[in-house]
Amino acid sequence: MEKKEIILKNKLSEIRRISEIIEKFCENNNLPMRILFDVNLSLDELLTNIIHYGFGDEKEHTIIVKLSLSENILEITIEDDGKAFNPLNAKPPNLDQSIEDKPIGGLGIYLVKNLMTEINYKRLKSKNILVLTKIVTNNLKE
């Protein structure tokens, strides 16, 4: 069992920092590039959302990201003390529209849902807790 906890501030530049940490984590645990990309993209989408819309003030906040890997299950937990927001309730984008009508909202979360094996959300003690699960395979099509 491999574990890691990362504490981030609510600044966009922190996404860069965590992506480098994830890269090391994946390298140390011999995880395929594909997993690294999927995890980084998911964190990019979710953290961008939290940092942009999660906090109704200008204050500094802390976002905690925990990684754990056991066997072939990678679990990522994101905790923030922002407004209650369950991304699983976000409306899926309509993928069939023509270019002029194509909206962009909801796309990030739609991608995360597609890239991760499972997503769970709970609100606990004024915190949003989002748990992403990814089964690690070497299958490129997965």
Binding site: F37, D44, E45, T48, D96, I99, I104, L107, L111
Partner: protein
Amino acid sequence: MKLKFECNKGIQIVHISGKLDSFNSQEIADKLNSQIDKGFFNLILDLSKVDYLSSMGIRVLLTLKKRVYRLNGDVKLSCVQPYPLNILKISGFLDIFSIYDTINDAEKSFATTEQIEMEDPKNIETCNTRIGVFKFLKRNNNPSKIKITGSNIDFLYARCSEESIVSENLSNMKYSLGIGGLGEKIEDYFNCIGELMTIAGTVVWVPTDGHNIPDFLIPMNENEEIKIHTVFNIALDNTFDEIVRFEADNQKDGVTIDAIYDELFSISRKRIPDFKGLLGLVMRADVGAIFGAGIKRAPIQNNTPENKQMITHRENIKEWLNFQVELEHKNTTALIVGVGLDYPSKFDPSQIQAIFNTDLATKGSKLFHNHAAIFKFLPEIKTSYQLENEINNVFKNGDFISMQHLLDRSTFKKGIIGLNYVQEII
């Protein structure tokens, strides 16, 4: 994140290296927008060094595409790497962006007539005729086919039954003309089957329900399989042997469709060694005027004429067919799908019968069968050989007027033609 700009023949090529993520997206958006401000509306983004794309990156690409689209330009992507490609696919953006394997392919897709002709005049062959100029751009060398389904006999005697219906995936019938209908259940369309055509994958159908109002069906996404149901149908290949630009000498009235076919026949006999006398044609044309006809009733068993003669028999024709008495739809735009048979041809009389149901062909007559969708006049986007682009633009921006079986006296001033030298009827 680095952006390198290179301008080639009015097209701005942008080499991007780095991540297209939320961190970088604003900077990239600003830099790309400044190119549009400078007047570059045609851009190619070289993504060979971009291995990461997030929804913010997609947002940048989409906003850019929307902006240049309104300025009649386009953004094309080249060398998209596997991971970003997969993200575009998952998010449903694959068919929104034009994606090319190489920068060169992307550049070619922008090329206008003049550019193609200047770049490689060897590719273009010009033929001056007594009615106007034809310019041929070679495309592929696969032998072309025409696929016939159903029976024109049952149709012409109005004795089609539910068993006569052949259902086929639209993707196999990108360009076709026939008699049929659209709908999930047979009872939805069987009693009002009528003239139907498919053009670049869009279906136009005029139900014979007395309203004479066409139905349109534009598939929004290529994964969706749509069935079309016909009792008789002629399908051309999805690709063309050559793309031809035609311009009539008489720009006031244009020239008749049979004269255009006639010239194409005699040019084909000179240029194409294995020409068998049968042409498949798709044309986006500036119309002089239209002479049309249409079927009024569904050619089904319930409606079989009492005299058991064909619906074109003199006693039946009035009841069955709408004939235009005068030239109509002057100076409009038309999308045409058709076939033309020269005399003599190398096909069996029985095969010819299956298309035209007449023995006139063996008696020295040339035969034509064309359907046209007619729109209010819409100029071409640019003078090019990009037939499918132009057709899609007509569907997107044109005001539809009607769909008809074309009579040979209809006239046209100019057009882009997709031509198939048919080698086989199946």
